[in-house]
Symmetry: C2
Subunit: 565 residues, 2 copies
């Protein structure tokens, strides 16, 4: 008897599905649906670059397309495949991506009377219109409820739940008044599929609640009325129409309704897991567990690991999110991140790499990688800080900028590129060391994302700098894979651990630290950490006169060693 699950991954510009065999891990089928609305799925406002909204209709249209598409592909892969053997569906989405809904849980954006009203649509994670509200929430919480802020690294973001809802109240009071409640995108889709869309009773995931809505069991769920009243009494009045409890994604939001079973071609009543954010389910799809640190290497990074509740790591200074159950049930989910990684490389190649390295971006990257790969650690003589977009973890400070040091009259672009790669790895090391200092040892780092697959030199540099074994997830779709794992686990017919065991695999090539390189990078990291603290830690006092000279010494040794090698 076969057991399959489907994972659905709702991204920024498209959604995609993955149908997997829960026992063998075989990926049988997949489909992608680009959102048809707006610019690549995003509704923009020409008068305000901060606006980023989505059309909930795209989510429903995509749902049918990607599920039926995956089933069709699966039948091609294996003619004996029977959709009746799909036992669960899991869903991840971007976030915080709140949707104003009516009392039945219908998004206002789907109702004719709100046609063309951007505030009634879905507020996409990257909408930054609520920056003023975010600042006021930060200020108010610092004064009244510092414990709320401690959970999210000291600064509440304009990308998050309360900032956006409050901004809607201010700029579109009609929409706010018409919204009986608000629902995260990742909670709304399971609610739709299971027919339980009433805001007060639909299942709500603890991942989005804990990371973005200041929800924690230790203070009784959502922020209390007094605090919300201090922001605006209308927010306090909304609180009872939101939710009291949020749960983990190994739990079923309900069973698939007959109507949706028919539309999707699946069996009625199969389990639909509680939803969560893409990065968190992606980490599960990449095999996150105690001691494993998952880095999603993209334009920025999202870093995720877990620690058993017994560890008691509720607060790790500078680590933005430590949420009970947000990744795996029974564990604190620990979320960190670097504000820019791939974005720094892209900036550099776009702005500062001459065309003799190649005609286009791709060629320039390839040529630079070829030339930097033959350099020994330290041989560039350069040291950089990876702060071109601020520092999210562990300094939690957007008002920081990049730094490059050690350049001579001979420094070349590929050497700087190497220094920038190293800087992002040093930044990653500060995060892992901070987590370890607070009692969460890490033995393995799993990288996912295009950079991890394509750039072997980068991976070896990361291994050497982090001093850990690095693996790359086998699947190209770890988010959808993680969603499928939860879909399967929520059925009760396979444990989450077993599903992870069966489905999470790694590419053959692993990257182990090379001791000789590690030794040099430990020296360089000490200098990085000095600069990091000197420019980033408000209370730093010290001296820096040794930094340039130490780099020159290390460079001379590296050049001599490399020539002899």
């Amino acid at each position: 008897m076969k057991r399959y699950a489907i994972g659905l991954d709702y991204g920024t510009n498209s959604c995609r599905s993955l149908l997997v065999d829960l026992d063998t891990g075989q990926e049988l089928g997949s489909a992608v649906f680009p959102y048809p609305s707006g610019e690549m799925g995003i509704l923009l406002d020409a008068s305000d670059p901060h606006v980023a909204r989505q059309n909930p209709r795209d989510y429903l249209d995509g749902l049918v397309a990607i599920v039926t598409g995956a089933l069709a592909r699966a039948r091609e892969t294996d003619p004996t495949f029977d959709p009746g053997d799909v036992i669960g569906i899991g869903i991840d989405t971007t976030g915080s991506t709140p949707i104003p809904v009516d009392a039945e849980g219908t998004p206002l954006g789907l109702k004719p009377e709100f046609a063309g009203e951007l505030a009634a649509m879905v507020w996409l994670w990257k909408d930054h219109t609520a920056y003023a509200e975010a600042a006021e929430i930060t200020e108010t919480a610092a004064r009244l409820r510092p414990q709320y802020l401690a959970k999210c690294g000291g600064i509440y973001s304009s990308e998050w739940w309360w900032s956006k809802i409050w901004h809607c109240l201010k700029v579109a009071p009609g929409v706010f008044a018409a919204a009986h409640s608000w629902v995260e995108h990742c909670d709304w889709l399971p609610a739709v599929l299971t027919g339980n869309t009433r805001p007060e009773t639909m299942a709500r995931g603890v991942c989005s609640a804990g990371h973005k809505a200041m929800y924690a069991e230790e203070w009784g769920g959502l922020p209390d009325e007094e605090f919300l009243t201090a922001l605006d009494p209308a927010l306090a009045a909304l609180r009872p129409r939101l939710y009291k409890h949020a749960v983990t994604s190994d739990i079923a939001a309900g069973g698939l309704t007959a109507e949706w079973a028919t539309r999707l071609g699946l069996r009625e009543g199969i389990s639909v897991a509680v939803g969560a954010f893409d990065a968190h389910m992606g980490a599960v799809g990449a095999g996150v567990r105690e001691g494993t640190f998952v880095k999603i290497l993209g334009t920025s990074t999202c870093d995720i690991t877990v620690a058993p509740l017994a560890t008691g790591v509720a607060d790790i200074p500078g680590v933005c999110g430590v949420v009970n159950g947000s990744v795996l049930p029974g564990y604190y989910g620990i979320e960190a991140g670097q504000s820019a990684v791939g974005d720094i490389f892209l900036w550099f190649v776009n702005q500062l790499v001459p065309d003799r390295y190649g005609a286009g971006l791709e060629e320039k990257f390839i040529e630079m990688e070829k030339r930097l790969a033959v350099l020994a650690p330290g041989q560039t003589g350069l040291l950089a800080l990876d702060w071109n977009n601020g520092n999210r973890t562990i300094l939690v400070d957007v008002r920081l900028t990049g730094l490059l040091l050690g350049q001579t009259l001979h420094t070349q672009a590929h050497e700087i590129y190497r220094a920038l790669i190293e800087a992002t790895a040093f930044g990653a090391r500060t995060i892992i060391e901070r987590v370890e200092e607070y009692g969460v040892p890490i033995d393995t780092v799993v990288n996912i994302g295009g950079l991890a697959v394509k750039n072997a030199t980068l991976m070896q540099i990361y291994a050497d700098i982090l001093g850990k074994r690095l693996k790359v997830a086998a699947s190209d779709q770890t988010c959808a894979l993680g969603a499928a794992i939860f879909g399967g686990a929520s059925s009760g017919r396979i444990s989450l651990a077993a599903a992870q065991q069966n489905l999470c695999a790694y590419r053959e090539r692993v990257y182990d630290p090379i001791p000789r390189n590690q030794a040099v990078y430990n020296e360089l990291y000490a200098l990085y950490k000095t600069l990091h603290d000197a420019f980033g830690a408000p209370d730093w006092q010290g001296s820096l006169g040794h930094v340039m000279k130490r780099l020159l010494e290390i460079r001379a040794r590296a050049a001599a060693g490399n020539a002899g090698a």
Copy 2:
């Protein structure tokens, strides 16, 4: 009755002449002679990149070519011109450029028995073979004669007199033994023209002696025997065959010999001034005097000013050369410099500027200047240190490197170029402030060199950062002009001051600080100085957490102000 003088300027790759009217300042004729030997006049050694020698024959061939050339040009310019009205010749050369000579003062390199022997040729200023000897001289002087080191900024250079002579002793003892004495290039040519080439009696200039040979009246001339013995007894044995006194260039080395008068087409017996280095005579040609600071803006800078002897500025910490009479008689000559200026810009445009700015270097510079010119001070958000080639003044430390700070994901190449220009101007300001702190007030800065003529934006940035009026010398050949001034003055028929008055002129366009810009740059300079001291001053202790945030504030203000302007 007309009075003319000829200035001869011996550079690294060629020599050139300038014939001027001492009363009107009219430049009547000029000629250039590229040295025919070696690579662009430099004798290289394929096995050692530090070697840079020259053929003394080139100097003599050039002498005839450029003097007769200038006379021919002058006759074209003014058919009534009479070479008999030329009353003096002045000569400047590169340095320290020592020549091993026999007892008659003939360069060993001109003698057949030394054909093909590089050590017997002229040791060009940029020859760096003697780096080990330089280090040992520095170490020995620090121990035994700290006063010698204080005069040259604490580090004796491989480019200088004693390092090179000592290196010759070590690597070519046969040449050293055959050399009765050694002569600076700038002293040898006047000796030849005046027929007084005997090493013990020929005129020696205080400019080269004081700056490069550790000569000072206060300790009785050249370094004492005990010190030289500590280096090598052979150097002490050489001392009596060198010279006892060195003099200023307003003094005649002698009169032109009949033989040379015939060869050059000049009157026998006219005055030939004592020689000096190019930068020093160049400063005189640019009108240096009390309160005027001359910057020769090239790949690096050489900065020169003067202070009356009464000021007593014998030691200015971090300022490499303060030598009685090295620029103007009756004044201390003060020499400083920045290790890289144009070289930093060239490095940047060669290595880090994409081709969308233009196909070649020139086009890239022009396009970048166009785009950075519209930015307000502070608008880049960037701050750089100008240390890609170390810091000559005021830190006197070659083991320093470049730094760039403030870059975001939007920083563009022309913004970095602006930051690099500003960094070199901030570096210039540290030098001028240091000189002023020691009692030498500066009211005017005169820039000479290609950058000063071509780059008006750079000049305005310099004026705004230095807070001084900036002028550009009118002549394109201030070195040869300065040599002509000394040629005239040495005749006794016109005073040095009158010759300078008549010959030194400035371009019409002067650059005055714009108060609004100056205010912003004062803020940025405070941050530059903080970084300068933090990374460059060995004993610095402090904090830097404000630097990036202050830059972001200044950037925001600048952008708002510029948008409103």
